[in-house]
Structure formats: C-alpha cells, structure tokens
C-alpha cells in the first residue's frame, strides 16, 4: 500500500471542521456504467434543461472543450482548441505517470473523511492543462452529473494553467430530474503558473436530499490571477466547502465571488480562504447570501503572511423569511506589519426606506422588493462569457420574482 493510500485510510472517519457530519455508508460507491456519448446527444430534453440551468450546453460549439461525468462514468470528453488539453483524470494519470508533482499536492488527502474517500474510492474527474501562452477563446465546460439514486460520486479534478496562459472553466453540477438522494465529493487542485489567468465559474443546482462536499485548493504563482464565481440558488440539503487559495507569487491576485440563496431545508456552509504569501499579492472575497428559510454560514478568511499585501472581505446577507438563519463569519489574520486587510459584514432585512422609495415611483411592494433583491445579488463577475452572464442574471431575476 502506498503512503498516500495509508494516509487516506487513516482519515476515513475524520470529521470535517465544518458542516454537519455525513454518514458515508448511507451512499453507494457503485453504479452501473454509462455508455460513452461522443456527440452529447444521449440526453433527454429534461436532462438537457437541467444541464442548461448550470451553464452546460449540449453542444460543443463555443466551447474550448467539453467534459461530462455521469455518476462514475466519464461519458464525454472532447477538446476544441489547440493548446487546451482536456482528459479524464484517469487518462491523465496514465499519460503523465501519475502526475507526481501535482497529484494530491495542493489538497491534503487526510484533510477529512471526504478527501480520504475521494482517494480511497476514487471514480474519475477532469484534467485540464492549458499550454504556455495559450489563451482559451471559449470556456471549457465540465459537467458533474448524478443520475443514480443514492450514490456517492467521488471526483478528483485538476487544472494546470502553464505560464502566460488563460482559461475559463464553467463547471455545472446537477442531478437528474426527480433524483432525491446523492453525495458529491469533489477534490479540485488548481495550479496557476506565472502570469496565467484562470476564471472558474461554478453553478450548482442540486436536489432535495443531495449532500455536497467540494474540496478545492488553488496555488497561484507570480503575476497570476485566479477568479472564482460560485452560484447556488436552488435547493441542496447540505453543501459545505471552504476553497483555499494560496497567493504564492509576487503580485498574484485572487477574487472569489459567491452568490447563495437558501430555501427552507437547505444548509449551506460556504467560505473562501486566501493566504497572501508574497509581496504585492491582492485578494477580494465577496459573498451575497439570501435565506428564504434555510441556513447559511458565510465564512471568509484572509491571512496576511508578508508585508505589502492588500485584501478585502465582504459578507452581506438578507433574511427574507421568518425562519432561516445567516451567520457571517469574516476573519482576518495579519501575521506581519505592513499588511492592509479589511472586512465588512452585514446581515439584515431589506430596508423599508428602499422599498418605499421605489414604491413612490409606482412600483408595487413586490416589484420593489424583487428589484432590490436582484440588485443585492448582482455582484460584478468579470470575464464571464455573455451567455453565462445572461444565464446568471436570469436566475437572479427569477429568484427575485419567485420570493413572493
């Protein structure tokens, strides 16, 4: 048994720091394999609609690559641009001799029972490598899809952006219509090299009884940029994630945007952690959260390790129903003189003044509230393709409307 396996095995029962503890035995790590779908044509209209909800097109046009993992089977993996390599993780491990410099380097395999399970019962995942100087013209789309009732999906993804490259990834995670129970464990390791830029936009649309435990770490080298947009506005039983970004090179940048809506019964514990480890590093973490009855914990942590770094953290929450709870936990850890870090957190209801101001222009109370909610969720996300920006705006619009 390898050292990695041993570490994983030792951590199989290790509870995570945050989020409700999940009994992994309630889910099955086995599923019947699915047939490969070279043209993305095997999906039903219902499935296509669900995928479109999370930004995944059932076509390869305007994509630098497409990857779909259904339950435990990679059913589609195609490349659309020279210099943008997209493989299944298992194929990449074979091709690159186990990826010794990257595999489980950024994420600790024994961080908790979920990382341990992702190693011990690894299914597959995607591997993206953008060659030095290559700029992806279109986004790479990756879809992680659960269709089997009660299964655990253990995924390990990797993104390597070589020097001076640019990449936009859209990751859509969703389930088959009517699916009730499932577990998604997703380890993601990002390596962003000198001067490269990666934007990762993730849309989640889970189901009533779906439990989600992503584990992401990002290493950012000199002059490189990592931007993350995470949107989850539909029901999910429990999502807990706390992606970690290490700004390791001079003048590196991280920007994490999160938009959450928690309906009744949802429990979302979402955060972002950025460690500023080189001079000139800059970070911004912004979250906008709304509860319509569910629980939200919005965490954020900035760690200033060296002088001359700058960072800001913002958690704003709106409670729009009698039930529901939002805990905003912003944290700043300055370890040397010369860091400049700040945070603001606010949780409340929509101000009556704002509603009545809009009503004085003739908007009804519902219209006024919807407009304010839309504005609240309207975080500026840079680098999104037009169609995805529209998509997110539509979801925000619908959310504003559906509250009443």
């Amino acid at each position: 048994m390898s050292a990695l396996d041993e570490k994983a095995r030792a951590a199989l029962n290790k509870k995570a720091l945050y989020g409700p503890d999940i009994d992994l035995d309630r889910f099955s790590s086995k599923s019947s394999p699915h047939e490969y779908d070279p043209e993305l044509s095997h999906f039903s209209d219902g499935e296509k609609k669900h995928m479109a909800e999370v930004g995944i097109l059932a076509s390869r046009d305007e994509r630098a690559g497409s990857f779909v993992l259904k339950d435990h089977s990679p059913i589609h993996c195609s490349m659309g641009q020279e210099g943008v390599e997209l493989l299944t993780m298992r194929d990449a491990l074979r091709k690159y001799n186990g990826l010794p410099d990257y595999w489980w380097k950024a994420v600790d395999v024994d961080a908790d029972k979920y990382t341990a399970q992702a190693s011990a019962a690894f299914h597959d995942g995607f591997f993206i490598r953008v060659m030095a100087g290559t700029k992806s013209l279109h986004p790479v789309q990756t879809c992680l899809y659960i269709s089997g009732e009660g299964i655990a999906q253990n995924i390990h993804n990797m993104v390597i952006a070589e020097e001076g490259s640019e990449l936009h990834i859209i990751t859509g995670c969703t389930t088959a219509p009517h699916l009730k129970k499932g577990l998604h464990v997703g380890v993601s390791e990002f390596y962003i090299k000198k001067g490269a830029m990666v934007t990762s936009t993730m849309l989640h649309n889970w189901g009533e009884e779906i439990v989600v435990r992503p584990r992401t770490t990002v290493w950012v080298e000199e002059g490189a940029t990592f931007m993350s947009n995470y949107v989850c506005m539909k029901m999910a039983k429990s999502v807990q994630m706390y992606p970690s970004v290490r700004l390791m090179g001079k003048n590196s940048i991280a920007r994490l945007n999160t938009i959450l809506v928690a309906p009744k019964g949802a429990d979302l514990d979402i955060g972002g952690r950025v460690s500023l480890e080189a001079t000139g590093a800059r970070a911004e973490i912004i979250s906008r959260t709304i509860t319509t009855g569910g629980n939200i914990t919005a965490r954020g942590l900035l760690i200033g390790q060296v002088p001359d770094v700058k960072a800001h953290l913002e958690c704003s929450g709106l409670i729009l129903s009698e039930e529901g709870r939002i805990r905003a936990i912003p944290e700043i850890d300055g370890r040397v003189a010369g860091v400049e870090m700040s945070h603001e957190a606010a949780v409340g209801k929509i101000s009556q003044d704002e509603i009545e101001y809009l009503m004085s222009r003739g908007l009804s109370e519902e219209e006024a509230t919807a407009l304010i909610v839309r504005g609240f969720l309207n975080v500026k996300m840079e680098g999104l393709p037009r169609e995805l920006q529209d998509k997110i705006e539509r979801v925000i619009n619908d959310t504003g409307k559906s509250l009443f």
Partner: protein
C-alpha cells in the same frame, strides 16, 4: 381641487409631528412651504406620499376628490403624485437605468433627450444614489420625476447641495416639470420645500405657507414671505402671529 388636506394629524414613532394641518392645491398651482428645520415640512410631504413611518391619526388627504389617506404609496404614485427626495436611500446593484426602465412610458429617444438635457448620461449605469454628490442626487430625482410624469409634484429642497451652475439646470427642469411655459392649459401642481431664494426665481410660485411646530401658521405671497423671513428671520413670523 387637485389636493386637499383636512385637519391632518400625523405621528412619527408615537410622537405627534403634524397637528391638524389644512392645505389645498389646485391644478396648475405651485405652493412653497417655508419653515425652520424640524418644523414638519418633510413629514407633510411624506404623509402626502404615504410613507409608513408617518401614521395619520386624524384628518384626511384627498387627491382628485378621492380619499387617499390610507392608500399604499405605489397607488398614490400611479394616481399622479411624485416626490423628489432630499436624501434618498442608496440601492446597491440597481442602476438608475434599471429603475427608470420599470416605470417608463416614454420611448427611448425621449428618455435619451431628457438624460442629455440633465447632463446625466454617465450616471445611468451607476448604482442608484451610490456616491452621488448633492447635485447628482437632485438631478437623478428630477430625471425620475420627468419620466414618471406626475400631476402633483412634491419637491423637498430641490436646491440643497447644488452648486450655482447646476441650480440653473435644475431650476429650468423644475420649471418645465411644472409646465410654467403653459398658462391656461397648465394642469400640473407643485408643493416645494425651500430654504433659499435661489429656486424661487424659477418656481413662479402662487402661494406660500409657513410651518411652525407642525402647524401651518401663515399663508401669503411667497416672495413677500421669503423676504420677511430673509430680513427678520422666522421670529418675525411668530411675532406677527401673536
């Protein structure tokens, strides 16, 4: 009468702020409301508009012969009452453009013309009132009023915080809003709170009212009233009442 207020008594947070106020404004008239800070002028405007903080405990407000005392704000707005706020709230993430779109009945070309006339083009894509200067707030308020096109226009200190150059722009817009270019056909009416004479030149107001401690204690020619206040202060008005 376009607006008639009878014995209106209003409470804010359990404290009586307006006491049995009577006021009538006919179509085509512009009235000015004078009074010290804290005398209840803004409360009167907000009560006419229907803000929930202003609780009517007695009396009534009629607009176009309909009792609107307990109507929601939006219905009053749709009936033709519009207000320019002195310090409107900031609404993050909502652009001026987004808001105007929701209640605009004009065509795009007309809107563009209005926006240009106010020199407001670059503010259309900014969050409502976020980081606006005094003058920008007033312009934004007036822009919304022009689009809204109300019959009764309530202006709360439209000139406060505005530099002299922009007072001219704002004055002209108010003049147009109140249809001062029309004589016989003029239907629009206004109720304007002001502390300075600057805007009076543009208003061509018909009547002035002086508010003191939540009561209207004097009515008259607005210019004369303003001169008295300017020369002898509000004290003279109080003495005069005795």
């Amino acid at each position: 009468m376009l607006l008639s207020i009878h014995n209106l008594t209003v409470e804010i947070a359990g404290k009586e702020v307006l006491h049995e106020v009577n006021l009538s404004i006919d179509h085509g008239e512009t009235h000015v409301l004078f009074g010290k800070n804290g005398s209840g002028k803004t409360t009167l405007l907000m009560a006419i508009m229907g803000f929930s903080g202003c609780r009517v405990t007695q009396g009534k407000i009629l607009f176009k012969d309909t009792d609107i005392t307990y109507l929601p704000i939006s219905e009053r707005a749709r009936m033709g009452i519009g207000m320019s706020f002195q310090r409107p709230p900031t609404i993050r993430g909502v652009k001026v453009h987004d808001l105007i779109k929701t209640f605009n009945n004009n065509d795009d070309a007309t809107i563009e013309q209005i926006v240009n006339s106010l020199n407001f083009t670059e503010f259309m894509e900014r969050d409502i009132n976020l980081g606006f200067s005094g003058g920008e707030i007033k312009k934004s308020e007036l822009l919304q009023l022009i689009v809204q096109n109300p019959e009764l226009i309530l202006l709360d200190e439209p000139e406060s915080g505005v530099d002299l150059e922009n007072i001219k722009v704002i004055g002209k817009v108010i003049k147009k809003l109140l249809q001062k270019n029309l004589r016989r056909q003029r239907v629009k009416a206004g109720l304007v709170i002001t502390h300075t004479g600057l805007i009076l030149n543009y208003l061509e107001a018909d009547k002035g009212h002086l508010m003191l401690n939540g009561m209207i204690i004097c009515e008259g020619n607005p210019r004369e009233m303003f001169e008295t206040i300017q020369n002898s202060g509000y004290e003279e008005c109080i003495r005069c009442q005795r």
